[in-house]
């Protein structure tokens, strides 16, 4: 049953990704003209002829002499084979430029989710079990601020404060000497050292949202008959909580990840730009600014893919936790 559900879920994912890729391809093809026209015009203006054959070669290589739908087809099949296209600005295949960055983006997102869980769960439970206490009010208020303050502003303020109080810069994700080096213990340590600041900043919004929903759901469960019964027959509060309502609220906990993941990925990009992390963010924005559309498109596709996979994992986890979902075939919220 579970296997069937997972299979079905993966099958649903395929059209989603296809439509997403079509959307992104349309977006990256919207600017008028293509890069080659600009390049050729530039070269001719400078009186160069030698590289025209190179342009022709590139044009053929990347299928620019073909109609749009064929180009789309090539782009998608290329992506499937790990060929992310050619960056016109850097004159190198995208894969070479990207290097570690995709990996680092995934690491940042992953740790942000872990952080969100670790922080939101106890606080949500505390808020629900101590409803209308000062702690509840205080935490709810802090959470609301976390929800309201945009990532990039938080990043700016963090940078400023670190600068004022400690006189250091907190930018970067890995010491420069490790960039584009193979993974090693020293490099991993360096990443971990830098990781906590972006993780806190990106996680703030999602954490606040999750605290809210854990609190609300747990409060609902705490009023239900089965919990009252459990307490009435003499179960101590901690055990009664652990045995019943907590397990129910776990569901929302897992399914909410699907909701906050897009915002985590978005936030990771923006925060990366502000803190100049060596993830995909700064590269994406530079590609967009210089209209290096294949580089940008591949990044966008990668980010969407990351989100879709994340949602898939959270759905599968939910199905393992809650048999009702497997049977209905759809998440109930």
């Amino acid at each position: 049953m579970l296997l069937k559900y997972i299979l079905k879920r993966i099958l649903v994912m395929i059209p989603t990704l296809l439509i997403t890729s079509a959307l992104i391809f349309t977006v990256i093809n919207l600017p008028e003209g293509d890069y080659f026209e600009t390049l050729a015009a530039e070269m001719q203006a400078q009186g160069e002829k030698a590289d025209m054959s190179r342009i022709e070669f590139l044009k053929k290589e990347y299928g620019f002499d073909k109609p749009v739908h064929e180009r789309y087809f090539w782009w998608v099949t290329g992506l499937l084979q790990g060929d992310m296209g050619y960056s016109f600005e850097y004159q190198r295949p995208v894969r070479e430029i990207v290097g570690d960055r995709l990996m680092l983006t995934m690491i940042v997102s992953f740790f942000t989710i872990i952080f969100t869980w670790i922080v939101a769960f106890p606080i949500g439970i505390y808020s629900a079990t101590h409803q209308y206490s000062w702690g509840d009010y205080g935490l709810t208020f802090v959470g609301l601020i976390g929800l309201a303050v945009p990532h990039f502003l938080l990043a700016l303020v963090f940078m400023y404060m670190a600068n004022v109080w400690f006189g250091t810069s907190i930018g970067g994700l890995v010491d420069p000497q490790y960039l584009n080096q193979p993974m090693s213990w020293a490099k991993a340590a360096s990443v971990l050292e830098h990781l906590w600041i972006p993780v806190i900043i990106i996680g703030a919004g999602g954490t606040a949202g999750m605290i809210r929903s854990v609190r609300a759901n747990l409060l609902d469960e705490l009023q239900k008959q089965y919990y009252v019964t459990a307490r009435a027959k003499g179960l101590p509060p901690g055990k009664a909580l652990r045995k019943y309502p907590l397990r129910m609220s776990l569901n929302f906990f897992v399914s909410d990840i699907g909701d906050i993941l897009p915002s985590i990925v978005s936030g990771a990009e923006i925060v990366a730009i502000v803190l100049s992390l060596q993830t995909t963010g700064p590269l994406l924005i530079r590609a967009l600014q210089s209209q290096d559309m294949y580089l940008a498109g591949s990044f966008l596709m990668f980010l969407s893919f990351l989100t879709v996979i994340g949602v898939l994992i959270s759905d599968i986890a939910l199905a393992i936790l809650d048999p009702r979902i497997r049977l209905q075939g759809a998440a109930t919220k």
Partner: protein
């Protein structure tokens, strides 16, 4: 026990055995209001319209009311920016570049002389070539109120130069410091609010229209159409918004005029944010379309667009307004983020995001922290809209 029984027996006089019981029903016309008189308070509640009930319920949500007032004040300051700002937002004071905040004092040497500022004396630090400003505490300069300042076109139409407060004669007034061109930060924040706040409303307007149309079609027709729309909503919701906004914003040709860019950004922001509204409309319509009045309208030959627009949507307009309120801060944030990254609005248009663009470099911020001031109104308006939205959502269902 026996005493009670005795007491009861004494009060009830039963007819003799076999005789009929006396007839007790009254033949007078029944007037329920005479039996159960409503207090004036209750009557008011019973007769109140739905909007009135919602207002009463909303009023009880203190935080939401306060937020509403704050929002009104902020929007009012943006509307009357020309009058409130001490300078025009493009006025450059080239002698006072990146000047820090000037403080308003009341007392000079122990004597009251009304609100005044001390003038700045600029000095170039030859070691790091940084302009430094010394406060000259010997010459108080009184502020002028309701004065003639820089010329402006009020709302781009009415020429004028009356301002609430101006810099003193021959002095400057930088209540929040000045930027790299010597422009007054406070004036720019006031003017910038106009762009940032209006783009929030317009963007939500776009997503409102999209949400009602798409959600309305899905909910009204149901079946296959609904399935397709639902998948579409899921896809759009699963995309990381900001990177896509960035991509869409970057394809706007640089040759576009600032006004065109402004509308372009509005549409882009609206394009991604309609999903929440569409979902709300869809689920409401799915349940409402089975109602008798809808069938009646259909039998009378009304077209779907008329039924949706005239009969169904007004029925849950309050819910829609509540959900739209919650998306306004998202749109404002979107514009701020885009402009902050340099892909949204461009100077000479001034918005909070455009102003923050100058604060991107941490070294600059460390030296001139007042460049971060636009953060304050952004956070304020977002918090206020969140609270207001919460209050409206609770109030949207007054019968619960």
């Amino acid at each position: 026990m026996s005493q009670i029984l005795q007491a009861q027996a004494s009060t009830i006089t039963l007819p003799p055995e076999g005789a009929p019981l006396p007839h007790t029903a009254s033949t007078a016309p029944f007037e329920p209001n005479a039996v159960e008189v409503m207090t004036p308070e209750q009557e008011r509640v019973y007769l109140a319209s739905q909007w009135q009930l919602m207002w009463w319920k909303f009023r009880r949500h203190r935080l939401a009311v306060i937020s509403g007032v704050v929002i009104l004040i902020i929007y009012a300051t943006a509307a009357f920016a020309e009058f409130l700002a001490p300078y025009h937002y493009t006025t450059r004071n080239t002698d006072f570049i990146r000047a820090p905040r000037q403080e308003v004092h009341l007392f000079h040497d122990g004597s009251l002389i009304g609100p005044f500022v001390y003038p700045y004396v600029q000095r170039l630090n030859m070691e790091n070539l940084k302009r430094e400003y010394d406060v000259d505490r010997t010459r108080p300069q009184k502020l002028r109120f309701f004065c003639r300042g820089d010329d402006y076109l009020f709302w781009g139409m009415i020429p004028g130069n009356l301002r609430l407060v101006c810099a003193p004669e021959g002095g400057t007034l930088f209540l929040l410091g000045s930027d790299r061109l010597g422009r007054d930060m406070l004036s720019r924040i006031l003017y910038g609010g106009r762009i940032s706040l209006s783009i929030g409303l317009l963007g939500v307007g776009v997503s409102f229209v999209l949400g009602v149309i798409i959600g309305g079609i899905a909910g009204y027709y149901g079946g296959k159409v609904d399935l397709v729309v639902q998948r579409l909503i899921e896809i759009v919701q699963s995309l990381p918004h900001i990177p896509l906004w960035l991509a869409l914003a970057s394809i706007m040709p640089p040759s576009w005029s600032p006004l065109l860019v402004y509308f372009g950004i509005t549409v882009i922001l609206g394009l991604m944010d309609w999903t929440g509204l569409a979902r709300a409309v869809r689920s409401k319509l799915l349940s409402l379309r089975e109602e008798d009045y809808v069938v009646a309208a259909q039998l009378m030959g009304a077209k779907p667009a008329r039924i949706i627009g005239l009969h169904l949507v007004p029925g849950f307009m309050s819910h829609l307004i509540a959900s739209a309120t919650i998306t306004i801060p998202k749109t404002i944030l979107g514009e701020t983020a885009l402009s902050f990254l340099g892909l949204g609005l461009r100077p000479p248009i001034t918005s909070w995001g455009v102003m923050l663009n100058e604060a991107q470099n941490i070294n600059v911020v460390a030296l001139y922290p007042w460049l971060l001031y636009p953060v304050v109104p952004v956070i304020l308006i977002i918090l206020a809209f969140n609270f207001l939205g919460d209050g409206l959502r609770d109030a949207a269902d007054p019968y619960r």
